[in-house]
């Protein structure tokens, strides 16, 4: 049995928003206001820079929502039926995320290390029966970045600067990010320099731990001496996420080309 008081940071799930009422979800600095009108839902996304990174607040039954800021993105969705159910589901990014450690990290030869890195979350807003996706948007829009050997060859990704923590106790939980355990194995004879790591999040599943934290399946990266890298996406939730359940399926299906690549296309 999970203690609900320890799950205060859970902002996802099914909610009832009757007609002419609104709900507001504060997820870290992101503010999501969803209003239910006759045959219509209005979704407004805004940010509050002063809000704490781990702040979560859900307010339902609002009759007159506050005015959205000038930079808020507002979208309207029309439906023929009049259901009150609104489902918010966290999901991983729709492109790979380039994890950049704040300081370069060296993995010495014949050593292995487990890193805990976090990546930005998306929110899928659904309604109706069967469920219809109204929006699939980033909770906080990450910066774009390019991961490649040149400006001609490479992949468009999202940028993500992390500390790269080595211990689970040091992890700082943020409601708009999911944690991925990455096991790095250096099979080479030279130290493996990790400045940037291309995390293929569209191929990962998202799990909710018993405590209500979000984890992805773990990844093992084998860096060989021949400049090849083997990527293994471990099945199921990571062992760190106790009592977890699947919350979001991978966006894309992983194939061989994703799992076996040149080292430079994963680490740089």
């Amino acid at each position: 049995m999970t203690d609900n008081s320890s799950r205060k940071h859970v902002w996802w799930g099914a909610f009832s928003v009757p007609e002419n009422q609104s709900g507001r979800w504060c997820i870290g600095p992101a503010i999501l206001t969803i209003s239910h009108l006759k045959n219509e839902w209005t979704v407004a996304c805004d940010t509050a820079q002063e809000a704490a990174e781990n702040f979560v607040e859900i307010a339902l039954g609002i009759e007159q929502p506050e005015e959205t800021g000038p930079k808020a993105q507002v979208a309207r969705f029309c439906l023929s039926h009049a259901g009150n159910t609104l489902v918010l589901t966290p999901a991983l990014a729709d492109r790979s995320v380039v994890i950049r450690t704040e300081k370069p990290l060296h993995v010495l030869p014949a050593q292995e290390v487990k890193l805990y890195v976090s990546s930005p979350l998306w929110v899928r807003i659904e309604t109706g029966d069967p469920r219809l996706i109204m929006q699939d948007i980033p909770v906080i829009r990450p910066s774009d970045t390019w991961f490649g050997t040149s400006t001609i060859e490479g992949e468009l990704c999202y940028a993500n600067r992390v500390y790269g923590r080595l211990s689970i106790e040091e992890i700082i939980y943020r409601p708009h990010r999911a944690i991925t355990p990455v096991l790095l194995r250096n099979h080479g004879k030279e130290p493996l320099l990790l400045e940037r790591l291309n995390l293929p999040v569209p191929y990962l599943s998202l799990y909710e731990s018993g405590e209500g934290y979000l984890w992805t399946q773990s990844i093992t990266l084998d860096a060989g001496a021949d400049n090849k890298a083997g990527l293994e996406l471990k099945k199921g939730p990571p062992k760190e996420a106790k009592g977890s359940k699947l919350i979001s399926e991978p966006r894309n299906k992983a194939d061989k080309s994703i799992l076996s690549r040149a080292l430079k296309s994963i680490i740089s």
């Binding site: 380039v98 910066s143 774009d144 970045t145 390019w146 991961f147 940037r196």
Partner: protein, 279 residues
């Protein structure tokens, strides 16, 4: 009248009627089958080649098969093929001489298809004309300018001139020229520009923004900020980042100078003579 009728009845012998019907059937079925074949061919080719290559190959195939169908229909009507081919040869030479430009455009079109310097939807500039590639045909390339005008450029001109494709690669760089007053601290301006680039999510983190100290201008220190962007967001970032730079400069008291005119009275020491006019 009776003469014409008798000629018609003489001409339309039962054998000739059968041949005419056969030729018409060959022609009708031939056209339908060719069209269906080309649609099917285009579908397959589109998966393996670019849309314009598929379209051109299908067009060539269509006219080739249609020529064969027409030849078969003529043969059914009793025409001598060798005479027909001879006449066609002479005709081709005559047409060739008369349409050298068209032939040159067709050959240039084939080179363009092989070379593939651009595709439908790309933004290109040819000889001062800039726009989206709308169609790539054997004779010409059709561009849709940003003002929504159609520009037809003969393929020969494209082969001869410099073509700039702005959307060939997935990312592009926007170069923003900024001038600041001579009194400003360049290190502070550089940090501020970097901060502006970092805070805009459309601006790529890698390749890192480029800062160039261009030199000492007439009225300002000339700087350049080069930021990389996903090609689809080019215009969006061009506008937003310029706005953000202006806001950041205003907020931090950094002056963007503009040319000043000093009026010189002809003497270094003498003040400029000012007369107050009275009503």
């Amino acid at each position: 009248m009776t003469e014409s009728l008798s000629w018609l009845t003489d001409f339309l012998t039962p054998e000739r009627v059968v041949s005419l019907v056969r030729a018409a059937v060959i022609l009708a079925i031939g056209i339908i089958v060719t069209k269906l074949l080309c649609v099917y061919l285009e579908k397959i080719l589109k998966k393996r080649t670019s849309p314009q290559q598929a379209k051109t190959f299908c067009k060539i195939s269509y006219y080739l098969i249609l020529t064969l169908v027409a030849v078969s229909a003529l043969r059914e009507l009793g025409f001598n093929l060798s005479i027909l081919l001879g006449a066609a040869g002479i005709l081709t030479v005559a047409i060739g001489f008369a349409s050298q430009t068209s032939a040159s455009n067709i050959i240039s079109g084939l080179f363009l298809l092989m070379d593939r310097p651009f595709q439908i939807g790309d933004v290109i500039e040819v000889g001062g004309t800039m726009g989206f590639v709308n169609e790539v045909e054997l004779l010409s390339v059709k561009l849709r300018t940003f003002q929504n005008a159609l520009v037809r450029i003969p393929n020969e001109d494209i082969i001869k001139n410099q073509v700039k494709n702005f959307t060939f690669y997935p990312i592009r760089r926007i170069d923003i020229e900024v001038g600041v007053a001579y009194k400003e601290d360049i290190a502070k301006v550089r940090d501020l520009l970097k901060e502006v680039a970092d805070s805009n999510p459309l601006c790529l983190e890698e390749p890192a923004p480029l800062f160039v100290y261009k030199g000492y201008g007439n009225s300002s220190l000339d700087l350049m900020l080069g930021v990389w962007v996903k090609k689809e967001n080019f215009l969006l970032l061009t506008n937003s980042i310029k706005d953000e730079i202006k806001v950041a400069f205003d907020k931090n008291g950094i002056e963007i100078p503009f040319p000043h005119i000093s009026v010189y009275t002809g003497s270094v020491t003498d003040p400029f003579p000012v007369t107050v006019a009275k009503n």
